[in-house]
Assembly symmetry: C2
Amino acid sequence: MKITMAHGSGGESTSRLIEQVFSKHFHNEYLSKLEDSAVLPGAGRIAFTTDSFVVTPVLFPGGDIGRLSVCGTVNDLLMSGAKPMYITCGCILEEGLDIDILDKVIASMAKTAEEAGVKVVTGDTKVIENKGGEPGLIINTSGVGFIPEDLVTPGPSKLEDGDVIIVSGNLGDHHAAILGTRMGIETSIVSDNAPLNEMVSNLYKEGVRVHAMRDVTRGGLGTVLNEFGAASGCEIELVESDIPVSNAVKDFCGILGLDPIYMGNEGKMVLSVPKDDADKALLAIRSSKYGENAAIIGSVKKKENNADNTNVSVLTDIGGKRVVGLMYGEGLPRIC
Amino acid sequence: MKITMAHGSGGESTSRLIEQVFSKHFHNEYLSKLEDSAVLPGAGRIAFTTDSFVVTPVLFPGGDIGRLSVCGTVNDLLMSGAKPMYITCGCILEEGLDIDILDKVIASMAKTAEEAGVKVVTGDTKVIENKGGEPGLIINTSGVGFIPEDLVTPGPSKLEDGDVIIVSGNLGDHHAAILGTRMGIETSIVSDNAPLNEMVSNLYKEGVRVHAMRDVTRGGLGTVLNEFGAASGCEIELVESDIPVSNAVKDFCGILGLDPIYMGNEGKMVLSVPKDDADKALLAIRSSKYGENAAIIGSVKKKENNADNTNVSVLTDIGGKRVVGLMYGEGLPRIC
């Protein structure tokens, strides 16, 4: 069966689609079925985020747009120090989409939400014409998390002189998986799309003082660390050989001339912690799901001169030092 | 200047677009600029909703997709009894979109948010290829509202025998404005897109016991009241001549064979209140912005037999009684 414009009418066809696909997978005590809003227990401080996912293809090696849409929003909430609680599912379907694909995607969202410990509590579905090519779908997920009362929230302005920079695993897998699929290149690379709830929870459980953390998505490590540097007045010095990249991705990058520092990921985070907490942090991450390849990749020092525009530099394998600027231009379109 | 794929990269072009358009209009103390999540004061009970807006054209008589995207989400929160607090702005832009149009839309969102008393606290921007026609944009807004501690939340299952049904104003304006524009028909009809915060606040201030309320959007009054009837085991009997419709919309419907009961609106609500509260409710709505044409349009009675499938009927002007079923089929595509 295919999606028709009638499925977006708000009438009987919409109700049946919601029943057949969405309600089937997203059953929980808070799900708003008849109402447009879910009514939920709250908290003293909340985190609120939104993300739209336009990745093509919607099914890719190691994941799909449904899993991605949950991981992206859950990880954004986690990075603010919040415990992710509730997410929404806003679908924009292209006419002609196969309902079996939608079902697969929504099932994957539900499974990922369970892994991440969040509930899908409300949603919305619209249908638009397909102007050409395979009919696709776009998903927006917004999320609400609770921030523990006594938590000093991390932030990019909170980097301190002497901090170390840790990345939670290999870079570039999602980017390479999507690009490889589009180009029809056979590789063993699969997307890293994953929720980081266990990892962040372990960091806080071990008492690591997290100054800043961020999931490394489109724009890559280079973009995130430039924001950290600019916001904090610090310079971050990376060691190229310490940045974890799988051999398969290294080969892929070699052939296509890509730099893992600017490649998008969907299950990796970078954090800045005091040097004294570095070993504890590394252990906490490595003992978490999706964290086995975590590594210390650089250090932070206060800029002596605020007019200094270099936020990030990297010591290369051959002993040189180069500046890591902001990514300029397109990156890979529709990677997330 | 036009939107390019680079504006969706997550790199420097994205940052500049956010600075030039979004941050310019959405300045408030909670807006997350560097972070993906906004950190916000919370409440004991919250309402959470999401809605994507795909209306074409994006600028239409009486409004635009920006105003619509705020009204839709604010009104959904209001209908749960919540005070709308925070909303998100998730933009999906088609490559080639004129940045002046984006600027106009975002300025309109900001203005409408101010009118509705909500803050836009976080956002996300993606760019997709334009596969044909004028480049468009899609906006997802999600919203969080606070529910007063002692409020018994209204709901479609809470209709009671003897309730009266009130609609807050003329039906069909948004639908007719969009359809007229697409067909190139010159009319005086403008969209009713409006936030209903003042109206709902006045209803509660006057102590009206609201059993159920719902904004009347795609699917129209017929769809909402069928949900009310089915959820509560009540039959709703409308009086056709009491349903407020402007002369211009009546004429428009006459020519095109449309029924205002199934036409979409973006600034109208319908509610069910005890008969004793009807006059108070009508007065509260009529004295509110956007409520001057409010009317009592029907009454509620408990179904004697739960197997009775008629949820809504209407007494016609010529003395007959007909069943108002669910809308079946397409309605008007991309009306919201």
